[in-house]
Amino acid sequence: MIDETLEESAALYALDLLEGEELRAFEARLESDAALRTRVREFQESIATLAYDAPPQSLSSDLRRRILDSVPPAKTVQRSSAIGTFVPWALAACLAIACALLASERGHLRNRIASLQRRNALSKTEISTLTSKLKNAPNAEAVVVWDPEKNEGVLKVLDAPPSGSDHSYQLWVVDSAKKSPVSAAIFRVGDNGTTKISFKPDQPVKTAKAFAISLEEKGGVNGPAKGPIVLITPK
C-alpha cells in the first residue's frame, strides 16, 4: 500500500527532485517495495513522454555521422539463420515502422506508407495488419512485415486466445498467382496471447495479396486450411 506521502516521494524521485537523506531513505525503501517500484516506473514513463512536448528541432546533417563514428568499429554480428530465431534487421526495422504506422490516425496512414515506400531500404517491404474475426477476442491483432524479394517475413500476434495443447495456429499467404493459400508457419500462442515469429512460406510466393491465420488441430495441416480463419488482412 502506497500512502500519499510515499507517493509524493515517488513523484519527486521520478523527477530527480529528492536529495540527501531523503533520497537515500527513498532508495532504500525502493529496494524492498515492488509496488513502489511500479509506481516510480509509471511516473517515469509519463515524465519521459514530456520529451515529445519539446518543439521539434532539426538534427544537423553531420551529427549522425559524428555520433556513429564515436563508437568502436563495427563488429561482425553472427545471426542464426534458423527460422523462428532470426529476425532480419531490415524486417525488424520495418516492424518498428509498422508500429509507428499503427499508432497513426487511419487518415494519415496512406501518406505515411507512401512516404516510407519512397525510402529505398524499405521500398521492397510490405506491411499488413490482420484484424480479428473472433467474437470472443475482438482485440486480437497481428502485423506481418513481408519481404517479397527474400520470400520471408516476421509475424507479431497480440491478444490472441491461447492455442491450448490440442490446437495450433497456422499462417497463410494468399498468393494471387496460386489457387490455394500457401502455408507459411505453424505456431502456438501462450497464455499471454502474444507471439512473434519469423517465417518462410512452404512454396515461393509471387504476390502476397493477403495474410490469414487459421486455427487448426495441433501441428497444423498440409493442404488448405481446415479450421476457422481467426485473423485476416481486411479487404
Binding site: 507517493e7 515524465i47 563488429k75 509507428a100 476457422p228 481486411p234
Partner: protein, 212 residues
Amino acid sequence: MSDPSPSTPLSGVPDNAAAEKKAAGALRAEMDREILRRLTSGDQAAFSDFYTRFAPATFSMIFEILRDQKDAEDVLQDAFVQIWQKAASYDPSRSNVFTWVIMIARHKAIDRLRSRARRHRLMEAASAEHAATPDRPIASAGEIVEQDEEARRIRAALRQLAEGQREAIDLAFFGGLTQAEISARLGAPLGTVKARIRRGLIALRDVLEKIS
C-alpha cells in the same frame, strides 16, 4: 482452448483504432528492446537504427533544456555513446527503452545546464542564457511529421493538467530546478509544490493511459 467463435472469414471487419494503437504501443516497445539487444552485441548497424528511432525526440528535449545547438549536440553524443557502452545494463523490469534513453539524456542535459549555470553565475550572466531565443530553425516539415503523432497525443494529455501542476513539472523536467527553486519561482510553499507535482504526475499517467 476455448471456442474462438470465428465469424465468417471474408466478411467485413470493423475498424478498431483502439486495438491498433494498443498493438502499436506493444510492438514499438518490443522493437525498441530488439534494437537494444542488437546494441548489446556490438552491432553498429543497430546503433544507426537506434539513432534514427531515438535521436529526434531526444535531441529536441535536450535542446529545450539547453537552448544551445553545440551544447545540445555534445550532450546527445555523450548520452548515445553511454547507451552504446551500457546497453547491457538496461533492465526492462525498471523502464521501457524510451524512458531509459530519455532519462539518461535528460540527466546529462541537466548536468550540463547546472554546470553552465554555475559558470554563468560567476560571470553574473546566468539568467540571460536561459531566456535566450533558440539560435537555429526548428525542424523540417518531414521531421515534424515523424514526431507529430506522438507530440499531438502528449500535448492533448498535458492540456488536461491544471496550470499549476504543469508549471511545476515543466520547471523540474526542462528547467532542472530543485524543489526549493520551483517553490521560489512559483511563489508557492514547498508543500504545495510537492502536492502539485504528485497530483500532476498521477493525472498525466491516467490521461496517457486513457488516450493510449
